[in-house]
Structures are given as structure tokens and as C-alpha cells.
Symmetry: C2
Subunit: 121 residues, 2 copies
DNA sequence: GGCTTTATTTTACGTTTGTAATAGTAATTG
DNA sequence: CAATTACTATTACAAACGTAAAATAAAGCC
């Protein structure tokens, strides 16, 4: 079961700080999404049902924390895009970006350093 | 208006060859998706409504061709992922992949060549 | 111990998506 | 020209999503 775009915004805040009460999550999201509290609670419940997060009772409320790891989510999403659009190969993807939105000097330097390192391993 | 995953499979075949009749599309998809003809026709009609493709009458049937360009679609998808998950920066994305699924020698060489070229421009 | 507050659980509702079947129409053929 | 064939257009329907309001339940206060 995959998590939706809206749900992933909720995951974001839980990945940043953990565990959180529902109210904490609402506060944290205040700046990023124009959602009513009720909406956020719905999303929390859907994430629970999908086992992407867990809830532990703490007195009268719950403490939520992620079960799904950010790295795993990021990988699943990235890999799927890479496979669908670039035949699973990274170089073409980088090439695509560089063709589209000129990479800055810094980006290039950063990439260069990274590749050097990979190359020497 | 964005096109869905299923719809993008239809776009794929139209990007490969163009224009095509509905029946051509059905044939082309036979190997890639287990869809009934009716399903594919629905997808074609939705793509039409979304203006991602155009249809031109040809006698009793239509010839379909893409309006949305593959490069634009690819870019929109990739950019959105890059922004959502890697703060819009490419190096971290490459780093992520290299950490997750060891890049092959060839991949690295390919990347290296690419970066060299970018660096000298 | 009722009333209010606070937090959770249930229910709602319009869209989009995946997946298709059915109805309608134009062309072809006997 | 009536019947069949080929296509297209309309309709269907359940699940997922975005977005939220209403109903409960539990706790604290007067």
C-alpha cells in the first residue's frame, strides 16, 4: 500500500520530529498546508491503517511515530520514477536535468566531487 | 491537468510512433498491459479531454497523436520528485542512488564523462 | 455529577483513477 | 436498402484521494 501525496506531507513532519501528538502535527503543518485539523486527523488515520505510522496511547491522546522510514520511501519513489522514465539509468536522468535547467557551478562541482569519490571506491 | 499512471502508458506508445489509430494503440499495448480494448479507449478519451493528445478524423476512425511532449512530461515528473524529496538538488539524489544500489562501473564512467563535459562548458 | 473542553472515531462527499460494458452511429456488403 | 461490421461515445462502478464535518468519549472543572 502506497502513501499519497497529501499523506507524505504528514510523514515529513513526523520524520523531522518524533513522536508527536496529533496537535503537534497540526502545528507543524500550519505553515506548509492550508488544511483543517480534521483533514490532518484523517490523514493520520489513513497512515495508521496503512501501517506507515504507529500510535501509542499517552493518557488521553496518542503519540504518533513513523514506521515507514524516510529513506525507504524516498527510494521507492525515486526508483519508480527512474525506472519508468529513464530505463533505470542514472546518467540519462542527470543529463536530462542538465539539459533542462542549466546546473549551477556549485551543483556541478558537487557532482564532480561525488563521482570522484565513487570512482575511487 | 496531470495525466495518471495508466494514461502515461498510453502516451508512451504514442510517443514512440505517431499518429496511431485506436486499434494501433491497442496492439502496441498488448504486450505491456493486460487491458481490454474498452479500457484503452477510455484512456484515450481522457487524454483527449486533458488535451494531452489530439485526434484527427480519418474516414471512419481517428488518428491520435500526442500534444504533450515527452520531454515536458518527463521534466514535470522529475522536477516534482526532485523538489519534493531532494530539495531540488541533483547531487543528493545521485548520492542517494549510489548509497542504495551500488552504481555499476559503467554507470560511474558514464556519469563521469557527463560531468566532465558539463564542467568544460 | 453535569457541563465544557479536548481528543478520537465515524461518517461524508465530490473527484480522479482503474477498469470496463453498453449504446449509438457510420460504412460496407449482400 | 437492410443487416452486419467497425468504430466511437456514453455510462458504470468500486477504490483511492483530498477535504472536512459530525458524533463519541474521556477528563477536568464548577
Amino acid at each position: 500500500m502506497t502513501i499519497s501525496d497529501a499523506e507524505s506531507l504528514v510523514m515529513d513532519v513526523l520524520w523531522e520530529s518524533q513522536p508527536m501528538t496529533a496537535d503537534d502535527v497540526v502545528q507543524a503543518l500550519a505553515g506548509r498546508a492550508a488544511w483543517q485539523e480534521a483533514t490532518i486527523r484523517t490523514l493520520l488515520n489513513r497512515l495508521l491503517k496503512k501501517k506507515a505510522i504507529a500510535a501509542e496511547r499517552d493518557g488521553r491522546r496518542y503519540l504518533y511515530r513513523p514506521l515507514l522510514k524516510r529513506a525507504d520511501y524516498v527510494h521507492a519513489e525515486s526508483k519508480s520514477l527512474l525506472d519508468r522514465l529513464f530505463d533505470g539509468r542514472i546518467a540519462p536522468m542527470v543529463a536530462h536535468f542538465s539539459a533542462r535547467q542549466k546546473l549551477g557551478k556549485k551543483e556541478i562541482a558537487e557532482l564532480k566531487r561525488l563521482i570522484e569519490k565513487l570512482d575511487h571506491e
